[in-house]
């Protein structure tokens, strides 16, 4: 195990939000984890903690995760006061323990928003995002039978790139969690933009933006005040430009 001697291990204190179920009153609980490798991901560190808890016969900390490679958007943790922790352009599953130091105290909370109620511990219900998507985040072109070849509709490189960038959004909700107003406008802006930029999406653009914004308001998300926190914390680098575009789209749709 000569290699291991070069590895840095750390001992950490974790302050974690524990909450039995959606109705229970939660509280912060302190835990200690030892011999955490700097190469672990944050979720692997959580696995170590949970193994420890299970061995002691305690209830493991519930947290969401699925792909563990930054594409599903499930892992939602508010780490030391930032969504997905202190690193930039990563989800919690991509966050490395080398971002922390031996002896650190790490505060871990669920994403907080009235529209993201806590289900248990660090798991929140983000179905409000699903309902916004269902309100218009699709195109209703009939694709059975005599569909046109997609390549026969010319699309500028610029529009294609911007649509692709908007489509990078994985619906993780870090934008809402980071926003002081719990606004979902970066998410909705990205979803509106990815269609508004392409001819296939433009047919239903007006209804889409109206319905998606109406659903967003109904879910109780707050109002954007352009602090820009969402753009900085977004693991996929979704630009504020998408919010401006959504505003323009809604203005166009309302006149």
């Amino acid at each position: 195990m000569t290699n291991n001697q070069q590895l840095k291990y750390m001992n950490l204190t974790l302050k974690i939000w524990r909450q039995e179920d959606s109705k229970a009153k939660g509280r912060m609980v302190d835990y200690k984890v030892t011999e955490i490798s700097e190469h672990m991901s944050f979720l692997e560190m959580m696995d170590v903690l949970n193994e420890q808890l299970v061995n002691k016969g305690e209830d493991p900390v519930a947290f969401d995760h699925d792909c563990r490679e930054g594409i599903c958007g499930m892992c939602s943790m508010y780490i030391n006061g930032e969504a997905h922790g202190p690193d930039r352009g990563v989800t919690t599953c991509q966050l490395h323990m080398r971002m922390f130091k031996d002896g650190d105290t790490i505060t871990i909370e669920p994403f907080r928003a009235t529209a993201f109620p806590v289900i248990k511990d660090l798991v929140v219900d983000r179905s409000s995002f699903e309902r916004i998507q269902q309100a218009g985040g699709y195109i209703s072109v009939n694709t059975s039978g005599n569909t046109q070849d997609a390549n026969s509709i010319p699309i500028s490189k610029h529009a294609a790139d911007e649509a692709m960038d908007a489509a990078m959004c994985i619906g993780c909700g870090a934008c809402v969690a980071s926003c002081k107003n719990s606004s979902a406008m970066l998410f909705v802006g990205a979803k509106v933009s990815q269609y508004a930029l392409l001819p296939q999406g433009q047919v239903e653009a007006a209804d889409r933006v109206r319905n998606m914004v109406a659903q967003m308001d109904l879910e109780g998300f707050g109002n954007c005040t352009n602090t820009g926190a969402c753009e900085i914390e977004c693991p996929k680098g979704i630009s504020l430009e998408n919010i401006a575009r959504m505003n323009r789209e809604l203005m166009k749709a309302s006149i």
């Binding site: 006061g81 909370e109 907080r112 002081k180 914004v213 308001d217 820009g228 900085i232 505003n247 309302s254």
Partner: protein
């Protein structure tokens, strides 16, 4: 269209429109006030015109008052809604990691401005209304003062160091409010962030120079009378 202004984005746009209007007004107010530094006479003439012109007094002035009231009431409404959107706050929140202090404290900088506006009304506006519309004296002259009274009154106001201090503090807060607000208003209106660099430079210049100018005017009259 009415549905638009009920939506979150519509409210944002309305907020931005009122703010743009206020920023335009502030520029105009500054242009007149700075005259007082260069020419007593010019300041008096313009003040008399502004104070007695029907269009300004009975059309633009009510619009301005509506603009201010709309802006801060809408600011409060948005603040309340936004607080409701997160009922349980974070135990640890590192706001400075991703946003400026100015952007996170618009309601507090706004409240200081509101307090100032109230003081400003008691200081200048109520006496004006009293002289002109209650006592019915539209002459713009005052016993013992040569020419129009406006410049003289201005000088008298800025004798008190407490008042000058309050003005300086208020304008520092206005500067902080505008450092975020200026670019924010354009972004709310759907302004493209591609043009944001230049817009932000203009915003910085405006939000520093205009309040600094007002501070300069207050200090100038405090030390020169």
């Amino acid at each position: 269209m009415s549905g638009f202004f009920k939506s979150s984005i519509g409210r944002k746009v309305a907020m931005a429109l009122s703010a743009l209007f206020l920023m335009f007004f502030l520029l105009q107010h500054f242009a007149i006030n700075i005259l007082s530094v260069f020419s007593e006479n010019a300041f008096n003439e313009v003040s008399h015109f502004m104070g007695t012109n029907f269009l300004i007094q009975f059309v633009l002035q009510p619009v301005l008052i509506f603009g201010v009231v709309f802006h801060f009431i809408m600011g409060f409404i948005l603040e309340i809604r936004n607080n409701k959107a997160r009922q349980i706050s974070y135990v640890k929140n590192n706001g400075s990691a991703n946003s400026t202090w100015m952007s996170r404290n618009m309601i507090y900088t706004g409240l200081v401005i509101l307090a100032f506006i109230i003081l400003h009304f008691i200081d200048f506006w109520f006496p004006e209304i009293n002289t002109k519309y209650i006592q019915g004296d539209m002459s713009g002259v005052h016993e013992g003062v040569e020419g129009y009274r406006y410049f003289h009154e201005l000088q008298e106001k800025f004798v008190s160091p407490i008042r000058v201090g309050a003005y300086v503090i208020a304008f520092i807060f206005l500067s902080l409010h505008l450092m975020h607000g200026f670019a924010s208003a354009f972004q709310s209106m759907g302004g493209s962030t591609i043009r944001k660099k230049s817009l932000q430079s203009i915003g910085k210049a405006y939000s520093i120079l205009i309040p600094l100018g007002f501070i300069f005017i207050a200090l100038y009259h405090h030390f020169n009378h």
